[in-house]
Symmetry: C5
Subunit: 265 residues, 5 copies
């Protein structure tokens, strides 16, 4: 049965998931703008900000650093991942079992899916096992739902994003992380397509502060329940300023303008 | 042993299976004609119509919405599925185990097979395991038998459809869902080829009301025991009208004309 | 250990195996010459003829119809099969486990192997598991040994047929079904190559009555112990006449001429 | 742990392994020069010669004929094999488990590996399981180490043969069967490369009597502990003569000349 | 949980891992410069030098020779490996289980990963199982992290090496062995990217004595904790001289000059 709302990674029904799986997905190059972020402790420290409801990291980072933060940070154990070195159709192999995540004290598990890839079938089968095992532990499942591969020409088109959101519902995720399709209407259709599944917008690469907050605002207004963010927080010199602003937008329903004014103050 | 007739998903030996796995197979685009259908509750409500003997949905939809409808709706848990984003030979990976379906309280399980695909061997092997496991739970097995792939030039030819029906018998399904081969004679040969297996005609995309009812009538007259229908019901503004008509055709053996007159009244 | 002779599917050390897996392998088209044969009961009835020592059918047919015939017919549960819709190198996936066959009350299990196919390795590995499991149930193993695929230019050449027979011995079958290599000398070499394994000639497509009986006669004279036959029996208007004649050839060591005279009488 | 020397298949620390897996690897064509050898009993009889320390055969042959010879012949159960019908990169699928070999009373297990083949990875993984399982039964492992495939241009070059021998050591075999690299120096390097692993020279196709004995002599002088031989024994009209000669070369350290004189006498 | 520092393979927090898996990876050709090294005992003897904190060898070598050295040498059981005969994308199949390594008395396990290879997904999945199993035995995991394959144009570029180091952290290794990226700055970034994971520089092929020591010095100065070395020790006529020098560089923080002066003395 689908469990209750994933409150362990929420605050007032909203989620701000700080993500830091970039070391595996992109390599340390993502840490170069703020070199200290290469040390996971820096990001764990950022994750103790009140605005952050959970931190998503991979196996090795979780087992090394999480023990010191488990009282202050909720953990989404990211179960799969891939380097960007490999060529060919996208696939994201599992590098941690649900059992191991549970042993690490995770509050939820995360899984990346690439619908449309030639490897869609294997990933569907693997996700099936992950989802059913997570149900046994009563661990919420967060699905990074990213259509990609030969079959996907444009992965931010409205119908592709709505499809991504729906797949999360169909396959039994509890929360899904999707890209923003560009308009509030398209995002509203995507969140409707996801049904009871919580929809988080994906932060993506670092962008203009206000533009980023607008995207988050648009998502919430369209029925989303939050965001997953990495580089737009920890690639900034002052991640706290951005988290202060996000806190206002996400939990106090401020406009980006008001939030930035508050954050500046 | 093959169990008794799948009475849990029948009424008087006939079956009207409402199907709603389109969110996974085609994406939310199928819900656009009647946008409210993007909310699975809408379709579950439709499924409470007396004419509907069972509803087929996937894992996530079942675990989210079925608990509120389990007293009113019989559930066919659809165990596999694929997006239409992926290119290449058709294959439909499993996203739910029979055990999980049983836990959800399913009255039967459903599985899509693509005979003729290059992936036929893997699907045969997976179906084997599904079928044998379902026997242990005494759960009837509904086979979506759809020849498709490089080896299949025309998937509605009479001999291909009869082959599809026969495969259901050979592999141990209890019910099969096939396309209509175009003539009553061809459908009669297909139902004979299926032996003791119940044959349901597949509704397909939304068509003219009367034409659709004629297809159903032709199937029943040819020895079929019912239909599986999705878009021809819930893509209509007034799905109840269509279900009223179907009820007369399927359970009262009316002609389409009489049924439509009754439905109008 | 290799079990004793498979007496459960023999009579006086000879075997006449009626086979009806054509619905899966070729589709219902094989039933068109005698349309009633599309109903498996028709073939089960034929199998009650005294000349028939066992009937080979697939999972769904066995579980549906065998319960009514188990006192009169010995069952060879055919464990694998493939449609002729799929293109590409031959492979025959398993659609029934040995355990399930045992549960159905099978007297032996049957498995099709395509030596020479690019899929030979997977089939060898699967056959290994089947054979060893069958030994645990003390169920004789009948191997359809059919060299086929890119590596096989001519599958009725003497050395290919002898190889097919030898493979059955090497891999641990108890009975093998091979094509006739064309001459009695070639068949004698093949039966020698099979060692203690019983060799049955494969009936193949429907041919001239006398020619067919000659092939059977030649096989027995060459050290074979019988035949597996499908279309040459049930595609005839009068299958009983053919079975009467086969009974004389196989069990009374008559010549085809004498057998036909007896059958006519 | 590596067990003690495989004394069950040795005599005075030397091994003469009679091999007869040709029925699977090459087909009955190898038995044509001496047609009686198509009957495995003929070869089992040959294996009772005092010079033979063990006989290597496959599953079906072992389970059929070994029970009558188990007091007189030590058995190396050959666990994998392939036909020469299949095209494509070499691979040798397992057709017998170690457990089954143990049940048959085997004194050792044999496995063919094709380093350099595109299928090297699967074979390494399978050999791993075989080797570790054999250790549990305390059964010595004989590795047919045959570099072959796209990556191997010349499989009798000195460095390739030494590599083959070393692989046997690295992967945990107890005995290895390699081709002769052509010179005693090259063979000496190969036996050094194998460390504690016993090295047997492979007999190969039938050759001149004296040349064959020279090869064996050269192997022993180079640190090898014996030979595996098939066609060079049982494709001769008088296999006993060859075994008499081999007995003198292998166990009495005679020269080929002396051995042949003795064999003639 | 990540275990404590792998002290069993360290001395004062530093590691000098002598590696000898070349027999499998490259073949005996690597032993030709000092032919006695073809005998693993020679290398085990070298491993008893005080400077060596652990020896990495494969399954067969470990089970044969380690029992005589287990009081003097710490063992890193190398779990996977491949020949250099095979063409195609790099992959390193497992030839020993963690359980077997534990049974052999290993102090740690080693695994080679090729990020960027088309086989990255299978290796990630296999490493996952290895890592989690090793945690159960409390065995440290040493990752040979070697980006390689179609997706990797230059495997010693700074960002590729830093990526390799980070992968070790992300996937849950305890120690990683990487190539030197050429400059101390690049190595420093790599060791930072590895977080708590110990970084060992890979010795590579035999080079100039002083150049090699400079590389080690540079690694230690950049935050690395040691080296893994094979040919640069045992391909020298006087491996002890090199180990004496390495001891001074690694454990006494000498410069290469001082170390060589000391070693000469």
């Amino acid at each position: 049965m689908r469990p209750n709302a994933p409150t362990a990674i929420q605050r007032d029904g909203r989620t701000l998931l700080l993500a830091m799986d970039h070391g595996l997905e992109h390599g340390p190059t993502d840490f170069e703008p703020v070199p200290d972020t290469v040390d996971p402790e820096t990001v764990f420290d950022v994750a103790t900000h009140d605005a952050v409801t959970a931190l998503a990291v991979g196996k090795g980072v979780a087992e090394t650093y999480y023990p010191s933060y488990e009282d202050d940070v909720a953990l989404v154990a990211k179960l799969n991942g891939a380097t960007n070195l490999r060529l060919g159709e996208p696939v994201s192999p599992k590098n941690m079992t649900v059992d191991y995540a549970a042993e690490l004290g995770a509050d939820a598990v995360g899984y990346t899916l690439y619908p449309g890839s030639n490897h869609e079938p294997e990933m569907f089968e693997e996700f099936r096992a992950v989802q059913e095992r997570a149900r046994e532990y009563d661990l919420p499942v967060v699905l990074w739902s990213y259509p990609r591969g030969q079959g996907v020409k444009n992965d931010t088109k409205a119908d592709v994003i709505a499809y991504a959101a729906r797949i999360a519902l169909e396959l039994g995720a509890d929360v899904t992380k999707i890209k923003h399709p560009g308009s509030r209407e398209a995002m509203a259709w995507a969140t409707r397509a996801a049904g009871e599944v919580d929809v988080l917008v994906s932060g993506g690469s670092k962008t203009d502060e206000r533009a980023f907050l607008e995207t988050v605002r648009s998502t919430l207004d369209a029925g989303g329940t939050g965001l997953a963010v990495g580089r737009n927080v920890w690639q900034r010199e002052d991640p706290e300023r951005m988290l202060d602003a996000l806190e206002r937008v996400v939990f106090e329903d401020d406009t980006p303008d008001a939030a930035l004014r508050g954050a500046v103050a």
